[in-house]
């Protein structure tokens, strides 16, 4: 196990919500041969930060996220969430939002949000209260009784975010959550997410293909190379908050987007 850089300086109390990766690598086994998917990735996300991972298809950014969620295991290196290794999914530390809303169609929106609590045997009354709170947070008050097929794509993804937040984990991992939405909804959802983030103070690690989305949302953008995925650049997004639509056409925004694009074009 490699020593963790810059980790020792963190006090334990300050680590709640921190995500730390050190020397993370992953090898896939395909028909006997090992394919190096992710190689030597180290970075640290301080609590409450919004970090976006971008990179070409197949660079392993989603794999990294799944490893942070405890859904996959790194072949080498360590991942700490809130200061402790994450070997298996731990919904108390990490909430996950997937590309597809993946709501259960047989449950109502509220029951879907309650699902993580149901698994832990939380009493119906408490589940309901928490779910209502989460639905209100994502702007879906009054839609709890609806089934997923009665909701629009954007609303479904809001439910999915509410489900990720219902146990109040300090970290929210989002795997291209808006990729399946139309452009307009996508922009709205981006603003909504920033509002939710500001209201909850969660640490968010967000994976996307969209450079605009990356710069618009992030405090910091981490750019990855194609397979084997490794970090090729890290950008601080110095734009003020709240982010506005007008910033998209500004020089700062354009400069950052171009810098990311140059990395990705090289590898395309």
């Amino acid at each position: 196990m490699q020593p963790l850089a810059n980790v020792t300086s963190l006090k334990p109390a300050a680590r709640s919500g921190a995500v730390q990766l050190a020397g993370v690598g992953q090898v896939y086994k395909t028909s006997g041969e090992g394919v190096l998917a992710v190689s030597d990735v180290s970075f640290e996300v301080r609590p409450g930060r919004f970090v976006v991972l971008v990179g070409p298809s197949g660079c392993g950014k989603s794999s990294l996220l799944m490893m942070m969620a405890g859904l996959r295991h790194p072949t080498s290196g360590t991942i700490l969430v809130s200061g402790a290794p994450i070997a298996d999914p731990d919904p108390n530390r990490v909430g996950v939002v997937f590309q597809e809303p993946s709501l259960f169609p047989w449950l109502t929106a509220e029951e879907n949000v309650e699902f993580p609590l149901t698994l832990r045997g939380v009493a119906k009354k408490d589940r309901r209260a928490k779910a209502q709170e989460a639905l209100q947070l994502v702007g879906l008050e009054g839609f709890g009784e609806r089934h997923p097929h009665e909701l629009s794509g954007g609303m479904k993804q809001r439910v999915s975010i509410a489900r990720g937040l219902v146990q109040d984990p300090p970290v929210l991992l989002m795997d291209e959550p808006f990729a399946a939405l139309d452009e307009q909804t996508r922009m709205t959802m981006g603003d909504e997410l920033l509002r939710i983030w500001a209201a909850t103070g969660k640490t968010i690690v967000f994976v996307t293909h969209s450079l605009t989305e990356a710069v618009y949302l992030a405090d910091e953008v981490i750019v990855m190379s194609p397979r084997p995925g490794r970090i090729v650049d890290r950008l601080e997004v110095a734009l003020p908050r709240p982010r506005t639509f007008e910033m998209l056409s500004g020089d700062v925004f354009g400069g950052l987007r171009d810098r990311i694009w140059r990395h990705i074009r090289k590898s395309a």
Binding site: A69, G70, L71, D88, P89, D90, P91, V96, F98, E100, S102, F104, P105, W106, F115, P116, T118, L119, R120, H147, H149
Partner: protein, 251 residues
Amino acid sequence: MTGALGIKAARIAVVLAVFALWEILSRTGAVNARLLPSASDTLVMLGDLLQRASVRNDLLVTASEVVTAFFVAVPIGALIGFLIAENRYFADVTKPLLFFAFSIPKSIFLPMFILVFGVGFAEKVGFGFFSTIFIVIMSITTAVESVKLDHLTVARSYGATPMQTAFRVYLPSMLPVLLEALRISMIFNLTGVILAEMYASRDGIGHQIATWGENFQMKQLLAGVLMIAAIAMAFNELVRSVETRCSHWRT
């Protein structure tokens, strides 16, 4: 009339028209009344048959065979179907073989069932089971495969135990396909049992129908046909009404 109500009315009209045509053909002598007794006479006979203790007993015998075959075939078929769907190797080996087996008309095996089990309850249940098991296996396989990987990942990311995954993800995901499987299995099951009864049996409603046919008792025969048709349709519709309620989560 094209509204939902109009369509329903049209359906009823078609059924009534068939009965009316039947009545007219028979009454006017267009078709020999000995060959095709009138619809009204047949319905009267149906009422009469249902009063007879012997017919009720036949229905009871058939029902017990059908239910037994069903409750043996469904769990065994479900278990095999589940293994096939969950185990890649098992699936690769057995799936094509099952499709081959499914394509064979099951009726050609009936004489063997009679030789092995003799004429009676075991033969009819055995053949009902044999007629049903393949469709159960194939439907359950489809049902398990209809469970979305996304949903399983969600359950896993929220720390679901295997039992929770089984009852909160697998079961509800499979429910619509499962209900359809039950419905279709019952059609095959009923067909198998009645065929066995018609071919070689001493009791049961299928045996009775075969006897009426051989003795040229057309009124009884047609009444028997109406009776079995009504029972089969009632069961089918019962399951289907539950099925439509969960149809919105079918993939």
